[in-house]
Symmetry: C2
Subunit: 218 residues, 2 copies
DNA sequence: AAATACAATCATTCATGTCTGTTTTAATTT
DNA sequence: AAATTAAAACAGACATGAATGATTGTATTT
């Protein structure tokens, strides 16, 4: 997409009167917006950020580009919306996992491992990499990354209350998990690591976490 | 760059007669090629893959685009050359580190940690991410990734011969190191992780490696 | 009917590869 | 050693394709 490759000369074009008023055919609008966002995610996964263009997204969504511009005043608005959708989806998935009854370490690591292999994470990483050199993108992304880390820690702390006794070890375990699982996903995707190595790594990570816990749990 | 966005209709344009003959003003040519490759790396770091274009690279190198096209018949050739340069640089750096006398674990992990924070690795990751959705790129990159893993393991095995007694643990230690260090570098770059967390992670990794070693070494 | 969803087209910008022309450098000949 | 010549290094301009935001026009809703 390469945000705002062309500078908007026009007078900011009154954003299409976001029809956020609860009860109308605005439901249709929200649905179409959602379709476009989903299409964007698919494009990011299939073609990468560099080749995710507005015509391609429109085609992937089965819409005309004109229709698309009706719902998002420009390409930047679309990927901004995509970012926050991915963020919320990440939080939701994490929340669902936390609500399940079984909370042993193996379960959680494998659940998060499954998460980081799904399209959502791949698309998110495409955007995160792009944001490194795109201020407009990083202005949106960085705060969300921080919020995710906080929620991640909150949830984990709620699940393992006995860990509050040694917060440094807890912090380390969280960072280890995130780094290894996310890093491993990226490494496999980019060919830096063979997928055969994954099980042993997961097993080792689980052991590590248990050793960082304050003595109980299998 | 987005390789070959336009298809070459012309008849393959006899590649500029690579003047690889050892002893001429061909040294100048090699030097200019090198300047262009360095400029490409800088652009990848500064602007990201999506915004690394031939005009920008030429400008960064202080050359005209025409001159650039004289040395690389198209943009794809340039980034291909950049990839193998980065690969060889990675191997060289690794080799240098192995030639130093002191070979304790702490030294090696911190050396590699320093490596993955340098421009070379960042540029390489930009290309690796792009290669995920670009067959032309991955055709070059994937074999090099494999070669790097092999050399990485060979070198490490030469440095710690006593480790041959337990190859699975050795393999795990190598994968752990690569995943954590590279993953952590990316995480910090993209804002997924705060850099404050790095020292504790490094320390933990070093301990892990030592525990995987067959009993000796401090 | 008024507004909103959608479609189609426009002008602009930019990157790409190709082509033509100029300068510099090295090799050959005298 | 000086002059000549050929090739390589470099620069600038061109045509093409594609993506962008803007604009205008049509069909649905409600």
């Amino acid at each position: 997409m390469a945000l705002s490759r062309t500078k908007s000369t026009r007078t900011a074009k009154a954003a299409p009167s976001r029809n956020t008023g609860g009860t109308l055919q605005a439901a249709k609008a929200a649905q179409t917006r959602s379709r476009l966002i989903e299409a964007t995610i698919r494009c990011l996964v299939k073609y990468g950020y560099a080749n995710t263009t507005t015509p391609r997204v429109a085609q992937e969504a089965g819409l005309s580009r004109g229709a698309m511009m009706h719902h998002f005043e420009n390409g930047a608005a679309l990927i901004k919306a995509t970012i926050i959708e991915l963020h919320e989806r990440r939080l939701r998935a994490f929340r669902r996992a936390a609500e399940k009854p079984e909370h042993d370490v193996d379960n959680l690591t494998e659940t998060y491992w499954a998460q980081v292999q799904k399209p959502g994470f791949i698309a998110f990483h495409e955007l995160a990499v792009a944001a490194r050199t795109d201020k407009e993108l990083s202005d949106i992304l960085v705060p969300l990354q921080e919020e995710f880390r906080d929620r991640f820690n909150d949830q984990a702390q709620a699940l393992f209350p006995e860990w509050r006794s040694s917060p440094e070890k807890f912090d380390l375990a969280m960072n280890l998990s995130q780094t290894i699982l996310e890093g491993m996903s990226i490494a496999v995707q980019t060919g830096a690591m063979s997928s055969e190595k994954v099980p042993a790594m997961l097993h080792h990570l689980e052991n590590q976490i248990r050793e960082l816990m304050p003595r109980e749990q299998s």
